[in-house]
Symmetry: C2
């Protein structure tokens, strides 16, 4: 049997872990700058908690085996449903939280493009009853903050509204019972051609005439103010209650985005649908525009929307909520490429003993560590100086601290800068301050 990780999963090596820490810390500071606190939930939920929340993707949920516990369990599929469950469990009426954790999907893995079955999501959500579009604007503002802090140049936020989508579906004659299915077909427009999507719609039972009307709408996109003008000139649409209300809300949202000074990042795009069942208001996704030109395709980095009816589905009161999820796997892959690889080891010093006892080495190692210097040594009684230097070099440790017979006698150590090769004698009582100064510790 091949000794490997399960399909669609992979190990994280020390460099992966360093890069991940770095990116998570950026995200955490962005989330905190916008007033969020952190929470966590179990990796699995009671199966019924996840049921009927993800539309066609529900079949991708990992179930746990029934081992006679009397509970049906499933691995979390996203962090939004666990958040709604958290609010319901603890009877909270409002919470602005972030949550960074792995989620699980039995999707066809595409690992070279960053699609895994176990992957991190970094979610930010605002739950609570606030004024229309104010938290929505703050979410989009945070996304711009995140993109800029992650050094994602040339990004765009595609934005639409589920009410507007439902409204124009109605205007196009989509029957009530087909709305989610047609929505899910439209959602595929970023990967499929219109003809393929049209075929899927017809296959799902839609009239050809309706499909052709839909095509006119999905082509509407661009500057928010201009799209709003186009929509308001469409009297069929403005007569639809859902559409008219959504357009009013979008006007309010755009006015806030102008105050935040971020409207230039927004592409109001009526072909955006988003797959998940639970959205009720604005929906959005941030995409990297140059993605095709680079070695690694980034594509969509983050997506989310408003879901005012999800918490209420747990039998408690509805709590209006909005939020988004940052998918960092592709960001991590890019950052890893560009990361300076020569100091993954966070070790500061390697103690090299030459013709001294292991006890002498240990005493020096212990002194350095107790003073906050990350220190390694060869776990050997007898080993040549050359081999010890080789180890220090191979591990990318910046300083070797050398003790030999002469150093022991004069109560000194020799310090070798492993990059410059420079070597100097340092009195033993000054070694800690000597190293800390050079390590900027």
């Amino acid at each position: 049997m091949e000794v490997k990780t399960p399909k669609g999963t992979r190990d994280s090596d020390p460099l992966d872990c360093v890069v991940r820490d770095y990116v998570f810390n950026i995200l955490k500071s962005c989330f905190r700058r916008h007033g969020a606190v952190e929470i966590d939930t179990p990796v699995f939920e009671l199966k019924w908690v996840l049921t009927d929340k993800y539309g066609e993707d529900s079949m991708l949920i990992y179930d746990l085996a029934d081992q006679g516990e009397g509970e049906q369990l499933a691995l979390r599929y996203d962090l939004t449903v666990p958040f709604a469950r958290y609010l319901a469990t603890h009877g909270l009426k409002k919470l602005t939280r972030f949550h960074i954790a792995q989620v699980y999907r039995r999707d066809q893995p595409y690992m070279t493009r960053g699609r895994f079955r176990e992957f991190y999501q970094c979610d930010f959500d605002i739950a609570g009853d606030y004024d229309t579009m104010v938290p929505d604007a703050d979410c989009l503002n945070l996304i711009v903050d995140i993109m800029q802090n992650l050094d994602v140049e040339n990004f765009q936020i595609r934005l639409s509204h589920r009410g507007l989508l439902d409204g124009y579906f109605e205007v196009c004659g989509v029957p009530e019972h087909l709305i989610r299915a047609i929505s899910s077909a439209v959602d595929k427009l970023d990967k499929k051609t219109w003809d393929e999507v049209r075929e899927e719609m017809i296959g799902k039972g839609l009239e050809g005439e309706s499909a052709d009307k839909i095509q006119q709408y999905v082509e509407i996109k661009g500057d928010p103010r201009q799209v709003l003008m186009t929509l308001k000139e469409n009297s069929n649409l403005m007569e639809n209650e859902k559409a008219r209300k959504s357009i009013e809300d979008m006007e309010k949202l755009v006015s806030y985005l102008e105050v935040f000074g971020i409207v230039q990042y927004i592409n109001f795009d009526l072909s955006l649908a988003r797959g998940l069942d639970y959205y009720t208001g604005i929906i959005f996704e941030a995409i990297h525009l140059d993605s095709e030109n680079q070695g690694i395709r980034i594509g969509s980095i983050c997506g989310g929307g408003r879901y005012d009816k999800l918490v209420g589905r747990f039998g408690t009161m509805d709590i209006p909520s909005i939020g988004f999820s940052v998918g960092i796997e592709r960001i991590l892959a890019i950052k890893k490429e560009s990361y300076i690889q020569n100091r993954v080891s966070s070790t500061d010093a390697y103690v090299v003993g030459i013709n001294v006892s292991l006890a002498d080495k240990i005493r020096l190692v212990d002194h350095l560590r107790k003073s906050g210097i990350n220190t390694e040594f060869a776990y050997r009684e007898s080993i040549s100086g050359r081999k010890q230097f080789e180890q220090a070099n191979k591990k990318g440790i910046p300083f070797s601290v050398i003790i030999g017979e002469s150093e022991l006698e004069s109560n000194e150590v020799s310090v070798k800068n492993m990059i410059s090769g420079e070597q100097s004698k340092v009195p033993r009582e000054e070694i800690v301050s000597y190293l800390k100064q050079r390590l900027n510790k």
Copy 2:
């Protein structure tokens, strides 16, 4: 249906997350001080990877349902077997790594005492072929470092050796095929009386005479040098090859522990057995001594041992390895009690608008955030000053930054220290430096 987390699991609220971050950072700096790098592995492994590694506890493994993937999967039970699998998968011959992650056990939960089905382990291991007992001594040294950094006063490291255990079992006449079963009975001596354990041994097929001989050995414990002396005077034991070899190794280990200056923390205890199958050399566990006297029982905080044959069981070369796992759940519970609860929110400032537009508030919020001040505001067009101050207070945010008509006119803001109640006017261009100074940012 009750909206809850699965049996034996729980949500982590913002305070839990803050305390966990704090404790993890302490552990990470201890691990790094001893030269370890971080790795991560998937939450589930191929089932066969975990099979036959955990002795009687194997039945506690969570299996995933068979959803037609052609792979049998199971949630990780500890971090040691995934580490061995990692070494085998990547063909590594040596690695000193730490790994902080959740593990899963279908154990009877005892949540008030910190026993959960999903819980964190923080593992440190040294894999590689080094001189006898040198990495072993460094592991024990690191445990002392960790205990001291976690402020665990009055702890003790119980220490023994699997070779010595097997040796004295042989001397007591335990048949080969019963050795692991009898070892697992001895392992229960910290929770059961000798009579109960004796009964279990007899039940497993051991002669009463052998059990009585074992009793004499399990009572040997104390200062390592004294225990070594006692053992060396026992000629029956010294004639046993395994026991004699282990005693020699222990002498070497104790000499290194003396150099590290930590021998006073060691209790050489022949009743220590540790349940897991894979140990081959020294075994140890760190316990908090005053545990019964406090509200929360800490008990065993950390445990581990040497496992030289585990990596080889994946069909690759054997890699001698030693390591331990820190169980932090009980530490977290104690730290949570003592944690200053009044600033779980990491928000620095709450912008209060009085008779100004939402746009005016947003502009100030945006300015503060862009300057690195974590800032919140009420997501409302119209809200009284009193309600805004209430929010800031309730969330424990240290400063309110107030704009009203007069402040807008004079291009100032008022800053209210929410703890002292003190309020002062600050020119708008100085607000960031004013806050940063008071926040020590």
